[in-house]
């Protein structure tokens, strides 16, 4: 029934379709990209895209300031973005939701400590915290993922904890305890199924955030290694040649926008279909 409702939701289907499309592009990047993303062709620098005058069919979206194929770089950068989105949000989800369930269910000292930790995290603007972490960790794909996990676990923890507090009061949870369910079984069999819709929704929205953060870090030069294609990096490069070739700037921006709105659309559709209360999950 629920699955049927998900299939009938236009938002879920459009969002999911776009996400799958981007994921397939990322997975089959070597087959789809016409060139190697790092291959420099110094005789063909800043070639305009195919549809404007002077464009070449060999470089459908033109080339950048080092003569690298923009289309190929966009495709490979989708790989970077999707890897970060999936792994980082999984990591943040696991840490955040485990802590949320433990804190919400047991309360006590641990709950207090985690609550204060969330306060400290909340006083840091996310951009600043991730940048500082990147300074300590150094650049690289794994470091970007780690930084996002370390910054964003609080999003899950904060929202899910209050949900756990509500669910914990329900009669069926008390009934399960009276039936002799242990704590582990009560949390995993009775509470988790009730918080799962919110968790899935948050996860989808977190992927959108992870894509943006990865782009931001690459944009300021503190993201993935320079030999790895990333949309933020393409934007930073193209910004210097904004007058010569504006497409180089606009295309990666469009890629970020499409990916982020796909995840947001999916998250919004899931929220409506799964009837999750709108907690403070915007951004």
């Amino acid at each position: 029934m629920l699955v049927g409702a998900l299939f009938r939701s236009t938002r879920v289907m459009v969002g999911l379709g776009l996400v799958l499309g981007i994921a397939v592009t990322a997975a089959f990047a070597p087959l789809l990209a016409p060139h190697d993303p790092g291959e420099q062709n110094l005789l063909a620098i800043l070639v305009p895209p195919m549809w404007s005058s002077g464009g070449e069919a060999a470089f459908p979206f033109g080339t950048d300031s080092l003569g690298r194929c923009v289309l190929s770089r966009l495709i490979y950068a989708a790989r970077t973005a999707m890897t970060v989105a999936v792994v980082a949000s999984l990591g943040a989800m696991v840490i955040g939701s485990v802590l949320a369930h433990v804190c919400g269910y047991f309360g006590g000292l641990l709950d207090w400590i985690i609550g204060r930790a969330v306060d400290v995290w909340m006083s840091f603007p996310p951009v600043i915290l991730s940048l500082v972490l990147m300074v300590g960790l150094g650049t690289g794909l794994d470091k970007v993922i780690l930084a996002i996990v370390l910054v964003d676990w609080t999003r899950f923890c904060r929202v899910l904890r209050s949900e756990v507090l509500v669910v914990k009061q329900r009669d069926y949870v008390t009934a399960a305890r009276l039936l002799g369910f242990g704590h582990w079984k009560t949390v995993t069999r009775e509470i988790l199924p009730a918080t799962l819709p919110l968790l899935i929704t948050l996860m989808s929205l977190e992927m959108a955030i992870a894509v943006v953060v990865e782009a931001i870090l690459s944009f300021v030069g503190m993201g993935v290694k320079p030999d790895q294609a990333a949309w933020g990096q393409m934007i930073a490069d193209a910004r210097q040649y904004i007058y010569q070739s504006s497409w180089n700037l606009l295309l990666p921006m469009l890629a970020i926008f499409i990916t982020v709105s796909a995840f947001n659309l999916l998250g919004d559709g899931l929220r409506r279909t799964l009837d999750v209360r709108f907690a403070q999950i915007a951004r």
Binding site: S123, L249, V260, Q280
Partner: protein, 338 residues
């Protein structure tokens, strides 16, 4: 009421002290992991190993991490944040010089975000039950998908490059001498009565402030709309309608007051994030504020600056949260009974 607000502010400031201590300790630890030797960096490359060692001892780098932190904390309490490794200047004065620029940008951006958020929220609410409702909802969701740095680039491209309407670098056109009274340029230019300069500074402010405002308004719009929808289920709205009060008056005078509270709660969080977002917008528009100072320091591994600027961001966020909470108290009479 003033007493209640002051009490809240006092309580918040006391609660902020441990948070700031933890934040500064965290910053300190994260940054000490770096394989950078501040002693070697603050000496000329020709310095001998013995000289570097002497400098290390002088800077206290041979002591345990906890002792180093306490030394730093002692100096920080006295307003001493050390010397910048790269600029060879006092970090405190560098921060003091750039903070007003960022604050000015952030305040104007918050005003824009609040205005767009309220206007957009009312518009979205007005569209309820019309064929345009779905379009408005989808539109606001797509707007939510454009982060501040994309807005910065979009506006830069459209108004700076494509139709060249507005300036997009710095705070002032070359040729103007910056008056250094408060550091808040819009205020300073008014104080010295230079309308031409004020107008120039305002022109430079439009794009960065708009980029931030546009990025942070959709969330406010959506929350205001949904709280208005909730409020309209209440009896007092129906009662007002029965009294013959016009729909517009009900919306503005009756419903908006109650619907504003959840929006304000979200605004507190949003404005804290917005303040961090100034960093990206500053880089895009080469705006000489904290963000550019921070990113330069990151590239130069200038630890004293990163530390002080990171802490400054936190202090401002805590102040913003306190400010929004006080406003909440002023607007919500139910919290005032004690």
């Amino acid at each position: 009421m003033l007493v209640t607000v002051l009490k809240l502010i006092g309580r918040r400031l006391v609660a902020a002290v441990p948070v700031l201590l933890v934040v500064s300790a965290l910053l300190f630890c994260v940054l000490r992991v770096l394989p950078v030797d501040p002693a070697a960096m603050s000496l000329p490359p020709s310095a001998s190993i013995a000289e570097v060692e002497a400098k290390r001892r002088e800077m206290g780098l041979d002591r345990p991490l906890a002792v180093q932190y306490l030394i730093w904390l002692r100096d920080a309490v006295h307003g001493e944040f050390g010397q910048s490794i790269h600029y060879r200047r006092d970090v405190g004065s560098l921060v003091a010089q750039t903070l007003p620029a960022t604050l000015e940008l952030a305040i104007i951006a918050m005003l824009i975000a609040a205005a767009l958020g309220v206007g957009g929220g009312l518009l979205l609410f007005r569209l309820r039950g019309t064929p345009l409702e779905a379009a408005g909802d989808l539109g606001s969701m797509l707007l939510l998908s454009i982060p501040e740095f994309l807005w910065g680039l979009i506006l830069l491209f459209v108004f700076g490059v494509a139709i060249q309407l507005l300036p997009f670098t710095g705070r002032l056109s070359p040729g103007f001498v910056r008056p250094g009274i408060t550091g808040f340029l819009l205020l300073d230019t008014l104080l010295i009565a230079r309308p031409d300069m004020f107008y120039d500074a305002l022109e430079h402010m439009v794009l960065p402030a708009l980029a931030l405002g546009l990025a942070f308004s959709p969330a406010l719009m959506r929350v205001l709309r949904s709280s208005l929808l909730d409020v309209y289920h209440e009896d007092y709205i129906e009662q007002a309608r029965l009294r013959g009060i016009s729909e517009n008056r009900i919306l503005v005078r009756h419903a908006l007051k109650n619907a504003a509270l959840p929006t304000l709660t979200l605004a507190g969080v949003q404005f804290g994030i917005l303040f961090g977002g100034t960093l990206l917008v500053e880089i895009i528009y080469s705006y000489p504020g904290l963000g550019n100072l921070m990113v330069d320091a990151v590239h130069n591994a200038d630890l004293p600056i990163i530390q002080a600027v990171g802490l400054t961001y936190c202090v401002v966020v805590l102040l913003i949260n306190t400010g929004v909470d006080s406003l909440y108290l002023v607007l919500n009479p139910r919290l005032r009974v004690h």
